[in-house]
Symmetry: C2
């Protein structure tokens, strides 16, 4: 099954119907996985080998608007600035939109406004494709369910399927070849005191895309075969920690899960190491603070940046240690 067929399966009788509105728009929050998504069982459909669990980043995310235009090709804007169609970012959006072109000549203008630093490893593609999916739903008037939106968003970027809600979200890996059982749902936990701190280490360029890094890990890392077991264990721990609001357990499990993911990369051939000297400096700092009794943990995605987990009560101490930290309140008044 390809992306086009997957979209057809979701849209059913609405497939190939014209947009009912002139434009559609929507916001989607970015998200950070507390239990990581690492490894695809289907590259075309972004089907994961394991389930994953994330926390959304409140009002940090993407606001996307889309309209039908009279043109032979899409017009892509990022924060109101035109992006060349040859650009990778534009190309991904155009490819994602292909299944929804009711005629070959149907083109779109898309403007993605993001309030998180692009390429900062804070899942900008996740919130981007989630917002675009919701905007499309409005443009065409599909009235899709959250589950259906989650499946469509996944076709753009795997982790996008987790960006349709605020709070805690779980993406079930599913087992079907067509991916119709691989979507996210909002979990019924809330934790108003929980804070996320973004430590951006900007001067580093990604040595390898996350898709390619996943491929190499799955194909060459001798430790990857234990990753599904690790995830199964960590998901139970994290859900339990959310349930009883055990911050230490949450932080410890999330940190170990991230380190395990990076350990599978480190044992790939050639090795993959997203960490820079600064990343390592901050890791040691986190551990040092913890030894001094402060409740702070980190998680790290396919990039050098660290994301800290801590409680509101320790905000001042965290800000005193890292002046440039970006604080995120995951609860969102909407």
């Amino acid at each position: 099954m390809n992306k086009n067929e997957a979209a057809k399966t979701i849209l059913k009788t609405q497939y190939n119907q014209q947009p009912i509105n002139e434009n559609g728009e929507a916001f989607a929050p970015s998200n950070i996985a507390l239990c990581k998504y690492w490894g695809k069982r289907n590259l075309e459909l972004n089907l994961p080998i394991t389930s994953s669990l994330s926390i959304s980043l409140g009002d940090k995310g993407a606001h996307t608007s889309i309209e039908v235009i009279d043109s032979h090709q899409d017009k892509i804007y990022l924060n109101n600035i035109p992006v060349a169609n040859t650009d990778k970012f534009a190309h991904r959006i155009t490819k994602f939109l292909d299944p929804f072109r009711t005629t070959k000549k149907l083109a779109f203008a898309i403007n993605t406004k993001s309030n998180i630093p692009i390429g900062s490893g804070v899942a900008s593609s996740a919130c981007g494709f989630a917002a675009l999916t919701k905007a499309l739903n409005n443009l065409f008037g599909w009235n899709l369910t959250d589950t259906e939106l989650s499946i469509l968003a996944r076709l753009g970027s795997g982790s996008a399927c987790r960006s349709l809600w605020h709070g805690f979200v779980k993406w079930e890996a599913g087992i079907q070849d067509d991916g119709m059982d691989s979507y996210a749902t909002k979990l019924n936990y809330n934790w108003p005191d929980l804070r996320i701190g973004l430590l951006l280490i900007s001067d580093a360029t990604k040595p390898i895309s996350s898709t390619n890094a996943m491929l190499r890990t799955v194909n060459t890392s001798s430790f990857y075969k234990l990753w599904p077991q690790q995830v199964a264990h960590d998901l139970v721990q994290i859900e339990h920690a959310l349930q009883i609001k055990d911050f230490q357990k949450l932080g410890e499990t999330a940190e170990l899960n991230a380190l395990a993911m990076h350990a599978t990369m480190l044992t790939s051939n050639p090795p993959i190491l997203y960490s820079t000297p600064k990343t390592i400096e901050y890791m040691h700092k986190v551990w040092q603070l913890r030894q001094q009794g402060l409740g702070v943990y980190f998680t790290q995605d396919a990039g050098p940046n660290l994301k800290l987990l801590f409680l509101e009560q320790d905000l001042k101490k965290i800000q005193n240690t890292w002046q440039d930290i970006i604080i995120i309140t995951n609860e969102h008044k909407s």
Copy 2:
């Protein structure tokens, strides 16, 4: 079985006999594992969970002299400077010597002269205990075989059993509870062009001893269960590389083996990370040089320092990149 009983088993009828000389002395080279020793199956006897393979560091090592003295306690010197008996270094030596005291009042003076930086993570305890074992053999006139010396040296420090020879050495883990089948032997390979470069990152203090780090890894790392498989695979690869002088295969396997060891530490709870920002900087530099076509690989032990593997033909390029690098020629004219 304890250390005393192990020593008794080795020395047989010579156990408890008086020294036949007034003093004994010996040199032993340090060694670096190309396939690491990580994890003990017996803490008291330093019996490893897996076999390992090392390269000795030529004339870098320890020269140790020992004599019987008329005193109620040992006198320990490091590079001719007295060390307090309460010091950890002195305490380990005194404990190691206990099985060989023919009377309770028998005390020794030991002077260890080392030409490698102490605590630099270049196996100073390995060459120290190997040299001490050989010096003891001379002092007492035991005439032990290399195999017997290797077993005795192992009681002082696991990797010391590999420091009795120059060149490439393999330590067979063995399966017996008494460790009588757990000793090293010299491998019949030589590689005159092979060079080792020590990159010392001196400003870092070890956050945890290697013995404690091994314990924590074995007890808590979810990835450790794959370590024995990793070693079994890597030992075959390394021996084959040595046999056919395939430098790329040797370097690649040694580097991945070290990274796998550190990956098991990273997934311990709490995580163990010996790398400092400088370590990570140098790792990325090695990979960058390799992408530019230079044949250079690293290995890393329980500390922040990196040890580079390269061929004599590339010495100049390596020295141009790292001015402070210590170059080691593993072949030893003796």
